[in-house]
């Protein structure tokens, strides 16, 4: 009797945490998807003569990206709203929120190793590019993509954990326990 109850409770907790995780995933995928749509929409709108909206999007992204035309992907002659590396990163954020990396959460060491690898590869690409040793569009986009996927997986897990251990949730649990104790 007792083991079956324990199994049922464990299953409920697992299902609940899985649901919280998928909810966070959906939320993040929607947010990063919107950002990616904006990035692609800027040249598309400029192409279709919606210059005010396109200029607003370029203006907003100019706060967080250098937007050097030679360092941006183009769509029908118009550059995207962000550079190669940033585009890779934002699409990486989207991919990472859709498909998390399981290895990343296997152990503390694996997590640290993956994060450091993603950062090191991107820094190496930045430094090699600045030093004139290496200049590759694919390299910039790929290192940005890897960084985005890793960081997005961390963020989804972080927000999921935060929602699971949030103070208001604990208060609700306390009240329900109190009610159970009274009855």
């Amino acid at each position: 009797m007792a083991p079956s109850i324990l199994r049922a409770v464990r299953g409920t907790i697992m299902r609940q945490s899985h649901r919280a995780d998928s909810r966070t995933r959906i939320l993040f995928a929607a947010a990063w998807g919107t950002v990616c749509v904006w990035i692609i929409a800027a040249p598309f709108l400029a192409l279709h003569s919606c210059h005010t909206t396109a200029a607003t999007i370029y203006f907003l992204f100019s706060c967080i990206c250098h937007q050097i035309p030679e360092r941006c992907f183009t769509l029908s002659g118009y550059s995207l709203a962000v550079c190669h590396r940033c585009a890779g990163m934002y699409f990486g954020f989207l991919l990472g929120s859709l498909y998390g990396i399981r290895v990343l959460h296997r152990s503390v060491r694996a997590r640290r190793l993956m994060v450091l690898t993603a950062i090191a590869l991107m820094l190496l690409d930045v430094l090699a590019s600045a030093g004139g040793l290496w200049n590759s569009t694919a390299g910039r986009a790929a290192t940005g993509l890897l960084f985005g996927i890793v960081i997005s997986s961390l963020l989804v897990r972080g927000v999921s954990e935060f929602l699971h251990e949030a103070p208001w949730r604990q208060r609700t649990t306390d009240i329900s326990q109190l009610k159970g104790g009274l009855s």
Binding site: T56, Y58, V108, R112, V115, L116, F147, L155, G158
Partner: protein
Amino acid sequence: MNEEGRMLKPALIGGVLLGILSSLPVISIFNCVCCAWVVAGGVLAAYLYVKASPVLVTLGRAVPLGLLTGIIGTAISALFLIPLHFLTGGAGVLEQLQQAMSQMPNVPQETRQMLESLASREGASTLIYAFGLIFMLLIYGLFAMAGSAIGVAIFEKRKPGSPSVDLPPYQPPVAPPPPPQE
């Protein structure tokens, strides 16, 4: 002190650093490299928080820490940037809009002039600026959260289930000496 109280000091240090560095004229250019200062502010806050925390810091704690750091950083940036905007009469907005227009070489001259005259108007430029600040709050919050998660992933070396504080090893109680024989 509770967890939220303990979070405030690292978030304040990280937020002030990211706010100041993101507002300084030449140094702020580094924000063009994946919001480097914002991520660095988040990493610094996480480092200080992990160092001061007696318990294991989870990624779930990194999220509110990063969010708080980003909000403080945006407020500090706004403290620097809003007076500058009014002092220059919105010249910064016009300059940024001109840079944005340079991404679209085929824009007709009339449209270009219309957008520039719109941006040079006092009310419109302030509105664009306010919209930019809201966007900045969102982006700073997200990137500081990412920085904070990176910081926790790098600096938190304690394993889940390991003793959270450095307690002295267990000493069994010493048996009391036998009563003196009379």
